[in-house]
Symmetry: D2
Subunit: 462 residues, 4 copies
């Protein structure tokens, strides 16, 4: 069973600002420096939230070779901010400062990124870009302040460990523009996943929502990369690669009430799968309504807590969830708008649920294997393909069948290190490995493309 409602992203429009990507991702500094940068593109209108708020500019950057990315939200002036860190393994820059609640606004930008703790370089890089560009300086009342957080998008998510770095983040910062926030697997959410606790391993991304009530604007942004599953307002699981013997009409409370049994592939309590040990959902809520630091903190707490409805479970020890709350201070609070913080929080929380739901992309589907192979000469696919220093794949053909074996540090998804796995034909140059998770592989000359499409991983034959 595979869920998913949004249309596939169109082909990427690469906007290279550096040398084109090499196929060889050896993960070292030279490679990071050579990676192609994709900025603010790769999505169409269905994949973006469009909204009218000149004070907010959004820049999205990706290394498609990861894939991984960064999302920068710039404010048109210094603003007040608050932070709420709830997960067991957060990554943050300058969180204690935000907690202090100063009278004077200081915050310039919130940066969200992939790359686990390495991706925090993206946050500090946005700050130094403001300095290098002369937008901010060193006088005590003009020091730039970017804060931000990261998600863990390594592990089982991809075959390399490319991370968003200074170069990518500064490019995304400089490309920021108002009005459009791409939703789905873009920016910081490029390689996000959900549901690892139950083995769901669904693809995820970043989401957003916006609403205006009178003069009060509220926008929310989130990068959903959770141990838990995404759930809708009727309690249904939105995306999950379910086990074969699982209930067909999967509801969140089935999964949750049945745990620990539901942690095992066959719902029988045996051989509980070890969940991926690191996950993170990072979020931002912005309002133009004036709010004191204390009110912003209350808003952050309320909205962050509310996310437990759309992501179940949430804020576990294996998540590093952080939420930022910001007021751009454009509209004075007053009796006229009839809203207390709790009410703004209630509205923002519903928006955040919308944003969570918007983040889920259509899930990948592998083609069906064919009964009989076509006449292609399988030997042309044989060889050893490398995906960088961590993963490589040995392909052999024998008696009209094609086999793969992972020969690097790690498995190539369904192709394990511990023995040959048959690659069953699904097309002239396309093969699959059936199983709980879609897995396909396409041979193109000296390249092999694993899981072709939005999250493909490309290897090169030595």
């Amino acid at each position: 069973m595979t869920f998913g409602t949004r249309t596939l992203a169109p082909a990427l429009l690469l906007c290279a600002i550096a040398a084109p990507a090499t196929a060889q991702n050896n993960d070292g500094p030279s490679v990071q420096g050579d990676l192609a940068v994709t900025l603010n593109d790769g999505f169409d209108d269905d994949d973006a939230l469009n909204f009218d708020w000149p004070m907010l500019s959004i820049g999205t950057g990706q290394y498609e070779d990861g894939p991984t990315g960064v999302t920068v939200i710039r404010f048109g002036r210094k603003v007040h901010g608050a932070v709420d860190a709830r997960g067991g393994g957060p990554g943050t820059v300058n969180a204690p400062y935000l907690d202090l609640g100063y009278v004077q606004p200081e915050l310039d930008a919130v940066v969200l990124a992939g790359g686990s703790w390495y991706g925090l370089e993206a946050v500090t890089a946005v700050n130094t870009a403001m300095k290098d560009d002369g937008y901010r300086g060193g006088h005590w009342n003009n020091v730039g302040l970017a804060v931000g957080s990261i998600i863990y998008d390594f592990g089982g998510r991809r075959l390399n460990e490319i991370y968003p770095d200074k170069r990518l983040a500064q490019a995304a910062y400089r490309a920021a523009r108002p009005g459009t926030f791409p939703i789905g697997p873009y920016g910081a959410g490029r390689s996000a996943m959900t549901g690892g606790l139950f083995g769901c391993n669904a693809r995820s991304g970043q989401g957003a929502a916006f609403r205006q009530i009178g003069e009060v604007k509220i926008a929310v942004f989130t990068v959903v990369n959770a141990l838990g599953v995404v759930t809708d307002r009727e309690g249904k699981v939105v995306a999950c690669h379910a086990g074969q013997s699982w209930p067909r009409d999967l509801r969140a409370h089935d999964l949750l009430n049945a745990s620990p049994a539901s942690l095992s592939p066959d719902w029988d309590g045996q051989q509980a799968a070890e969940p991926d040990r690191k996950n993170t959902t990072i979020s931002l809520v912005v309002t133009n309504r004036s709010m004191s630091s204390a009110e912003l903190k209350r808003l952050a707490v309320q909205v962050h807590t509310s996310m437990a409805r759309g992501i179940q479970p949430f804020a576990t020890e294996l998540d590093g969830d952080v939420l930022y709350a910001v007021s751009t201070d454009e509209v004075e609070a007053g009796p006229g708008d009839g809203l207390v913080t709790a009410e703004i929080g209630a509205v923002a929380s519903e928006l955040m649920w919308d944003a969570i739901l918007s983040s889920v992309p259509q899930q990948p589907v592998a083609p069906q294997p064919r009964r009989s192979a076509d006449g292609s000469d399988l030997q042309e696919f044989a060889g050893t393909y490398t995906f960088g220093p961590l993963a490589s794949l040995e392909v052999t053909a024998e008696k009209g069948r094609l086999y793969g074996r992972a020969t690097g540090e790690r498995d190539v998804f369904a192709i394990r290190k511990d023995g040959p796995t048959e690659l069953r034909p699904a097309g002239s140059n396309v093969f699959v490995v059936p199983g709980r998770y879609p897995f396909s592989i396409r041979f193109e000359g000296d390249e092999v493309v694993v899981n072709p499409g939005r999250w493909q991983q490309v290897g090169t034959r030595k």
Copy 2:
């Protein structure tokens, strides 16, 4: 529309340990000292969670004259604890100590009480009871430690301001016994309400749930007194006195998505009701599994966050939500039980949802008014009735109709201060005021009983 699924509590079996209550509640210290104490009773099996865990003893005490109460959970030895304070107005004793994460267990008891910040006397009283009884002493390794929190159960909830005090708390502590936790309007949850944000004003109480997985026991307890509404796993509102023009099939996301319109009685965005400014949900999760202080803190965060599913919205600035997490350290953690903290947290979070749902009592229903009054002489009901220093009621009969007017500091619920309200006959000595909230009044000699039943308020004719 009124929701509610549990049966009405049986008549109370008063277990007075002091002089019987006087009808006059003048809220001063002498009256507090004269109030009748109800201990561990007033409920039948349907109104209690029964579970097997000798290490936990529960004592419940109430001043029915409030009504208000206290719930004491004692542990059979010193245990580790953690705390997570999320609401905007928490009341706590010794929270910073719990946050320090000491190696040595120190905690003896968790005390939950009504009475807003005054009810914190119940927490410190349990600690001094341990000292006075010689159970704990002054040596540095034997100092008693009770922690705890309170709910705000004044305001629109009742006509007096009686609070749980030292006498009540020490009695409840000394009456604690293992195996039974009353659910519904008992103990600290005696005058709890929910849904004030939307004007729901549903009666609430305390809830509990228990589960054992192998050797691992998990119990959760909660006193639900929330600005938000209680919601079930399909997103339906469990209890609400809905406005007349509201949707008949009320779902939480209708209320939430439609705010701020749903904050007004007629769902039209006009005249938004001001929510009661203080509310609090206070909770406890206990496991017998060994957990370090850091793990307990993670458990507290995860379970507390999860409560946003069963109470919507949750953790607002107008709540003072606090959750305690405790390990009794009876079962070693090990690979054998296949559970990491996140999984225990997931199970405990589902239990907490069950506990929240269990807390909701059957809602009061007022009798129907009769078309024509019976022949009773209404003059016999006339007079001024007082409910203590805050509220009094003037009843007059004129031309075969009965009228009430509140003459004290505050309204007597549907009977306002600003003019006479007709009391429409519903029985020989029973009258009602139709409206969104059930309101009835029964005359018995020189006493008047407002909203007879579980939450009745008794006034006396001068």
Copy 3:
């Protein structure tokens, strides 16, 4: 070597509001209820800070039978407050609320007490006194808020475990008056000590200081009960019962630089004394200058940190140090007064050092033993004297010498449980045990007075 500069307190003027104290302190609830209460007295002008600030009222109460006590600081209206908890074992009521930084002032009183965690009953009792007296009520904008902390004054400090309770605290609250704060061993500081880390075991107390700069008033209060020693501005130790072989001109940096050697009685690193495991210094700084919650928090942090100069070491794991900062909001901040928070903090920090120094009372000195006993018949002193349930003393006379042996749970200071200790004559009915710490005992009929004077302990012959 014994330091100390202030004159001995005059005889106490007991102001009993209850039945007179019995000689038998059996530490149970009945005894707590029978103890005599001493309010706002027992000190003369040299022992008090007098200052002009009508907004602050101070009430001091003591159970001389402990001795232990409570100090209540009431504010003339609701004020803003902040808290800084630094020690390893703090005792607090409502600290998380103060940390939230609300716009509306809520705080009514700060309560400091002895009695370890049991003494927190004094804090909650002041709150319920405000309610019981009708000064505060239950409406959401009028709920009373008392916060406060306790010191650990059990252990080696006295032979009983009497603690400040509801009765004492409410009496002290109701006796509060402006203008006078007793300094030395009064109120919460009644049985305070310092220097346990080095075996100094000096008597301590509560201190205070006040300064006005233009319109800005600053008052500081502290109860010094520290693991460390009190030090003056030249780095000298103010009070310490030094070991025999210690340097004569004792300076704090000698003690500190030489640790761990200085932890042993003979400065040789052998047999390090185990310090008393619990200590606490609790403090309050108040200004009439308007300050936001964030500014108050900064003030609290700065002043609390500065106390490490006058108490060395400070804020250890064996302390439970807490400081409250309050603004009465009587004087607007402005450029006119030329003060930023850091400067107010600097002034307040010097005041706090003054307050710490003021807290140290003259240390007790035991009389010299006589070469030869007078002709008194020692048999008249023989018998078993009890100090309550924890300590009793067997006195025997043999061959013209008097011996003591502790027969209860604990030693009677220099008189141990493990064998007879000779009581050497120092007067007709006065005896001493020479040693590092002054110890004398006086027989009066059926009573025995240990360490007669300010901190005496009275036992009764069975």
Copy 4:
């Protein structure tokens, strides 16, 4: 009056790893990329702490053109850490994570840097260097974790805003070696100052101290950049450019007790100087003794608090003080070593005071002006010199006198923008401006060197 005890640093041994610095510091990204890097040098034995602890490696990097720098402390394996943020404006990376108290050690390095919040790039850069070098990777149990903090070393400290960036930090990280920590104006302390609150404006730097007790090693490191003054153990001010009418024998308590009068240049309460609004002292304490997360937090609190003795005032709203505490877990805790955390904390606190004192370099002294100028042709010095985008200096000669006027955004120290300042001859090409702070200027061809020596600023004639 100028204090200072340590010898002047020898000439720098530049170890350029990039193109040599240009004279033109226009502060943009290209310039940052062109700056010469100085690594682990520029100091002699008197300027370093040498100690034996292979588990600790130290790397120090500077941009002498700032001057500013970075100090990296690497640990030989993953270690436990805790953090204590006390100042009003801290800069931190990953502080909330450290506060969580995980069982598994995660920390790899602590990075201290100049450059205000921009310098946080140095912290994240060390983390990505570990990844780029293959020392750490992306598997969940092997993710690199560098934490760290920054000081504010812009403002009145120098004429440019160069900051430690990724290039400098990664070079310093890779140059780290055990055994030597340079003390004084090196690394992160390159442009540190102290005493701004009183106008002292003394040069400062980084300090360190080490002690071994049995098997237990303790090392402390600090970068002293404080609003307050550095004070020794007798309460004397160690370094201050005092006002002319100030007491000759300046003691800290004179300054502090006399504030706010002591905040004015003439100690008269008039024209209080506005202190520099941002300062920070950042510190690290390391022990090889095993400590739990809770114990490390206690250690951090105790040692950080103790620093208020050596820096007065400390932890103000205008500081951003942060301290890290680390255990390398090499020596088991046990009764054998006779040390509880409080005692280790006491020893470490004395070491920290030593480290603070060691950080103070010899203060710069300007040459005396001559009565009569020599015969040099002053016209040869005339021209406009630029120090980068922020500062430039116009030098004119008239009637045998030389004048300067600042023509950029800011003053060139004693040479103001608001009018010509006479430059009085002190040598053939050396001139001074007498005043509270030493100021001299030397002409060398087309370059002008302001305050020649350790903290010189070089301008170039257009």
